[in-house]
């Protein structure tokens, strides 16, 4: 282990800038890692955490900015270069060969002699894993292991490559609570050896438990770097403070929301429970009612069950218990009057390799059908009208959707869904990653929908929710913390603690 100046920064990243087509992932980020510390990188999905760390681990090259490792300027062209400086990253999706054994995976790609002395290598793996309390069978094949065990293999692999700065991208997202405790014990052990760790997450409690330093990223910029002790001393609930840093608390934009007379309940959700991808309870016993003329927001830090809730409502995920009814009819049977704006614009909401016109007819092709034929001419006229009305900047409906910017693509999806004249609209993170102009246009469109039907808005953006919503449900770990009305003067103060899972505070 390098023992030079325990307190000096192991890594300094200066003014890192990185853009991908359509997104600025990092906008001038300064970031430091000290030797022998656990540094949490906190932020919502899309805040730029993973991008920043992939740059540090050599997977991406920054467009601008410098990296210094132990005082020395470095340029990484590949992960191999970063590994040579002791920097390694464990991705959210493990990079293991499923049919190989633990030992084979650990030594894969490491230079060695031609002859494979498998028993010796297995012994070395067993010794090292015992030493760190990473219980693992060195001869097991990856597919036989649980996710937590696979993660231990990844950690061991890093150890065998002499990694002194270990980056872990959301390592706890896949773990059960007792496995998380075990992981934290291993992390503390590493710290005692003088290794540094970067812990990417969006879970507040874990951050407060384990970190020495916390850096909060939002929209590609550093919001602040704090020590958990500092904020623990300052406020009653440290989680609240962090939640605010993550999602921001700018003033509410005046967007001219005027009251709409609300009617009888339009959507009724009763005791809804939904399973997540790993069979865990992602949404637990949620009930709410949405009336016509109302924007009902589901607010929460990402990963608290929003995705599963929406997927269950739109029929892409089975409902485990409870029910959802639109005007008294089971929601499944009236999907024609429900429009859905998915969070994943390019994967789910549109087909990048098809034309704008083809994307326009995606969700409601019946309108443009005549026998087996599609009436492309009339579809094109409608598409052109909608492109003008929603000010979608594109030369013609014949261009490919992938050529559109994020904001224009989102307006296309919105135009398409509103054209169906839905009675009910579900909008999931509708303005994430968009500029101010596009955001406001989309907000106006959502307010327009409120006049004719109901809207369920799922968002992690407090500003958006407070600007638009009439009623807010705060989601935490799949459960409803509370439902608050936006007429309430103190609603902003109440929301923060609720998002962090603190009831009855403030």
């Amino acid at each position: 282990m390098p023992d030079d100046s325990q307190s000096g920064p192991a890594v300094v990243m200066k003014a890192i800038y990185k853009a991908f087509p359509g997104v600025e992932a990092n906008r001038g980020v300064d970031f430091q890692i000290l030797s022998g510390e656990i540094h949490s990188l906190l932020g919502e999905n899309g805040a730029g955490k993973t991008t920043l760390m992939r740059i540090l681990a050599g997977f991406y090259q920054p467009d601008a900015g410098e990296i210094h490792v132990r005082g020395q300027r470095v340029v990484f062209r590949s992960p191999r270069d970063a590994l040579a400086h002791g920097i390694g990253m464990i991705h959210q999706h493990f990079q293991l060969v499923r049919t190989f054994t633990v030992t084979e995976n650990i030594f894969l790609g490491m230079a060695g002699s031609l002859r494979l002395d498998m028993p010796a290598m297995e012994r070395r793996v067993a010794e090292r894993s015992d030493h760190y309390g990473l219980a693992i069978d060195s001869r097991a094949r990856i597919w036989e292991l649980s996710v937590g065990e696979q993660q231990r293999v990844e950690i061991l692999r890093m150890l065998f490559r002499d990694v002194t700065i270990l980056i872990m991208d959301e390592p706890t997202a896949v773990l059960a609570p007792q496995e998380i405790d075990r992981l934290f014990a291993v992390m503390k052990r590493f710290r005692a050896e003088g290794r540094s760790m970067v812990f990417i997450t969006h879970k507040l409690e874990e951050v407060l438990e384990i970190s020495d330093d916390i850096t909060v990223l939002r929209r590609g910029k550093v919001m602040s770097t704090v020590r958990p002790r500092q904020i623990r001393e300052r406020t009653v609930s440290a989680g609240t403070e962090l939640a605010r840093m993550m999602v921001g608390r700018e003033v509410i934009l005046e967007i001219g929301k005027h009251p709409v007379k609300t009617d009888a309940p339009l959507l009724e959700v009763e005791h809804l429970s939904v399973m997540g991808d790993r069979g865990e309870l992602a949404v637990a016993d949620i009930s709410f009612r949405i009336r016509r003329g109302e924007i009902f927001a589901v607010l929460g830090v990402a990963g608290n069950g929003q995705r599963e809730l929406v997927e269950a409502l739109v029929g892409l995920r089975p409902i485990t218990a409870g029910c959802a009814r639109l005007n008294g009819i089971d929601l499944k049977d009236c999907m024609d009057s429900v429009a859905y704006i998915p969070e994943d614009r390019t994967g789910r909401g549109s087909i990048p390799d098809m034309t704008l016109l083809e994307n326009f007819i995606l969700t409601d092709p019946k309108r443009f059908k005549k026998g087996p034929w599609i009436r492309w001419k009339s579809a094109e006229r409608v598409a052109q009208t909608l492109m003008d009305r929603y000010r979608i900047a594109a030369p013609s409906p014949g261009m490919k959707a992938r050529q559109l910017s994020g904001g224009n693509l989102q307006k296309l999806i919105l135009a398409r869904e509103f054209f169906r004249k839905p009675r009910f609209l579900i909008a999931e993170q509708p303005t994430r990653g968009l500029d101010i102009g596009a955001t406001e246009e989309i907000w106006q469109a959502l307010l327009g929908q409120r006049e004719t039907g109901g809207v369920l808005l799922v968002s992690g953006n407090i500003k958006e929710v407070l600007s638009l919503a009439d009623t807010i449900l705060i989601l935490f770990r799949g459960g409803s913390m509370d439902i608050v009305s936006c007429d309430d003067e103190k609603c902003l103060e109440r929301i923060g603690p609720l998002m962090a899972g603190v009831k009855g505070a403030a």
Partner: protein, 353 residues
Amino acid sequence: MRLILRKRLRPLGWSRFLIPPVSILAAILLGAVLFAWVGANPLRAYTEIFKGGFGSIYNFSETLVRATPLILCGLSVGLAGKMLIWNIGAEGQLVMGGIAGAGVALFFSSAIPSCLIVPAMMLAGFLGGALWGLIPGMLRARLDVNEIITSLMLNYVAIFWLEHLYFGPWRDPEGRGFPGTAMFLETAWFPRFFGTRIHLGLPVALMAAILIGCVLAYTYWGYQIRAVGAGAKAAQYARIPIARNIVWVMILSGGLAGLAGISETAGIHYRLQQGLAAGNGYMGIIVAWLSRLRPGAIVILSVLLGGLMVGGDQLQIILRVPSAIGLVLQGAILFCVIGGQVFNDYTLRIRKG
């Protein structure tokens, strides 16, 4: 020195249209080296190939005969490919189409009016292939079994069926051991045109190409197929019934290959015989992918490849080069053209040291 392939961050502009011609040029140069190596003048060899495939009306008619099954098999693979379904089973579907059509010709020729025999054979051919496409289609749609494996394995089942029939129950009793059925009655022959071997299969194949092109471009069903292929998650979101579409696409895909089978059987051989499974189904995969799944391009490429095959056969006679040279040349072209497509998405860098 190291060669490094790196993914392009932005799609290639107009220069992507240069990739196919440059690839073919590279293949021609590679072939030239090959000809020189076996002692033939490359320039003369290419001239002979061209003359062999396209040099006279008769030669060109033979090229079209050769292209007929390629068009149908290319459409078969290409249609499924539009949905990202890999139909490797066109060969088996072709064979099953041939068997079904031949069954009609052998056993029902006297029972149905003569003017209906050929249409009935064609229908049977289509259905035979469709059945063989339906099996992997159903397995994929209902049980999520990989269709590449099932459709490939069914090829061997079909070929064994074929052998069983012409060596066993359907063998021509007067054939003196020739592996094949008796010749069909003349009413069961596909008509030939212009005094050449061009037969009914060619107009059928061209019609099929136009039909598939129209279905894909103008119908709702074609739109669904393209949407599933281009974005399965988005198609699911739009509530397109993916499983049902897989089944129907595999039925049609198998049927097209089945038509290739019956048109070879009833248009060329006039009997079910060894040599029906001549690799057209596999060539169809290549045709479909070189054409990037576009029906019009499938027709053109089938004719070009047909010409290359006919010309290659001629070459062997005229220049006395090994018969395999035609195949090797085909291989060089495929290698270069398919390999060249890598450069659509990647750039090549040379790093010293």
